[in-house]
């Protein structure tokens, strides 16, 4: 397939739904300059993207909301794919509830883990006595997503397992709608999805032992929003950099990571230094493949 003429002017991307908005904005901007390149983006979740598309060699770039896992590196290696990591933004993973739930504004990490633990709390009152005696309706990321993995690790840690009694979806809009529709619902996803709908859902502050911190671009940037702020990445297959379309796109992408574009999507942009570091790294990688 790769040898077909049309392919060389295409850039195929899969992976994280959290990073998807950033990549799609960049792709749209890129097309303004290069309308001969066709870019396709599949939103499959970080893990799905790595194991099903990127490592089998079917995509050039994988969006990721967590770092690549060891098994995935192995899988890629087996197919002679060399992933190169670039950080493109910082996200504040946001826990949200229904705006009418005026009895809740802030949760502790401990309480969160009770809520999302397998065999954890079933009703709100089990978590905190003054909360209503109502069943908890959970909406969260699907297991193939990086958001799931990150949340699982940051909140539940090594020992805990994420509950399966929740509405699992790759489609964050579904979580917004679900939480919006039920006073006793709770959900989590990337900050961008909250940022767009601040009136329909309410973001909870997280107390990681240092008092309540609300998620925002500022608190994430300053590193105050713990433990749920995280980096967002793209992984580029070094082999794909042989093609100019991919090269140009990645270069354009990295240049944009320090601009307002990322801000507008709802994430924290990179600093200019970080951006330049990334670009340098890209140049090295390109040199390596084109030199051969």
């Amino acid at each position: 397939v790769g040898t077909l003429s049309g392919e060389s002017r295409e850039v195929n991307i899969a992976g994280s739904s959290t990073v998807f908005p950033v990549t799609s904005v960049v792709a749209s901007e890129f097309r303004e300059e290069r309308d001969d390149v066709t870019i396709s983006i599949s939103r499959t979740g970080t893990g799905g993207g790595f194991s099903n598309f990127f490592c089998p060699g079917m995509t050039d770039i994988n969006n990721a909301s967590r770092e690549i896992a060891d098994v995935e590196v192995e899988q890629c290696g087996g197919n002679d794919i060399t992933p190169i990591e670039f950080t493109v933004a910082t996200d504040a993973l946001t826990v949200v509830v229904n705006p009418e739930a005026d009895w809740i504004d802030c949760v502790t990490v401990e309480e969160l883990s009770q809520i999302w633990q397998a065999d954890g709390a079933e009703r709100w009152s089990e978590v905190r006595d003054e909360w209503p005696d109502e069943e908890i309706q959970r909406f969260g990321a699907d297991t193939t997503s990086g958001t799931f993995d990150y949340f699982d690790e940051a909140i539940l840690g090594e020992d805990g397992t994420h509950t399966t009694d929740y509405h699992a979806t790759e489609r964050d809009r579904t979580i917004v709608q679900g939480v919006q529709g039920n006073e006793f619902a709770i959900g989590y996803f990337g900050f961008a999805y909250y940022d767009e709908n601040p009136d329909e859902i309410k973001a909870l502050g997280i107390d990681d032992g240092n008092g309540c911190v609300k998620p925002s671009l500022e608190t994430a940037k300053k590193g105050e929003y713990t433990p749920l702020s995280r980096s967002l990445y793209i992984y580029v297959a070094q082999e794909s950099l042989e093609r100019s379309a991919v090269r140009d796109f990645v270069e354009f992408y990295l240049e944009q990571t320090s601009t307002d574009l990322v801000n507008e999507v709802g994430y924290v942009p990179m600093t200019e230094d970080e951006r330049d570091e990334n670009l340098a790294e890209l140049d090295d990688a390109i040199e390596e493949v084109t030199a051969e």
Partner: protein, 311 residues
Amino acid sequence: MSSDTEQSQPDLTDASEPAFGRVSRTKDVAFRWLTFAAALLGIVALAALLANVLVDALAVTDPEYGSWLDWQFLTSPPSFSDPFAAGFFPAIVGSIALMIVIAVITFPLGVGAAIYLEEYANDGYLTRFIQLNIANLAGVPSVVYGLLGLGLFVSLLNLGFGTLLVAGFTISLLILPIVIISAQEAIRSVPDSQRQASYGMGATKWQTIRNVVLPRSMPGILTGTILALGRAIGETAPLIMIGAPTAVFGTPNSLFSKITAMPMQIFTWADRPEMEFQYGVVAAGAVTLLVVLLTINSIAILIRNRYQQRT
């Protein structure tokens, strides 16, 4: 009867004699209204929904936005962050490309199969088996065809996920039974006297099919095929299963290009968080899709009507 004897005197003098009685029509009238209401219910519900989506797409209630469905929408690439910049262009192009591929595949295959079943096959077990099988295939859920595409074209034949070719093959298989059945109906409607006339002139079977049967049934075949294509451009589930991408920027430039299509694009937009996507962009996409569909169906009906006038 005997009790009637007095009454039954032919009383021809009194024209105002009571009639033979009346049978209550309450049930009759009520039932008539009930059935009429039922017949309208689905249509009215759909009309209400269509009115809603049209109002949203044209932003009738929020004129400050300006209509969502405008030239910019039809010609721009999609956006997943700025509803005001979002466009439908790659999806429209993808749908058209897909339709062409599907038409090229299903038309000859469907007509060929219909010709075989109507003109060649005798009424044996095999024919009836094929016929039954086609009827059944027409009822297989589209998501299962999606799995077929995924297992056969993507995994086994390795034609690439979400490509134009795979999508075309998959949906072609899905609508092929419909094309065959409607082509069969069209061919069956050619009067036998026409075939007899041709055979009587010493025409071979193929000459008869080519010169008599096909010209006469072509409008019907076209109508059926176009209606089936209408069904094809609305299909979403098979595209999801074969891994059609969430977003495409640009137009397909080969059969192996990844494509999106109108319903797929609607599906991926529908989960954008912003309300403007929900009630604006998606509505505009839905209206565009419905307009295209309506146009296609109108063309089919036009062909059918012209054909009906001629015979």
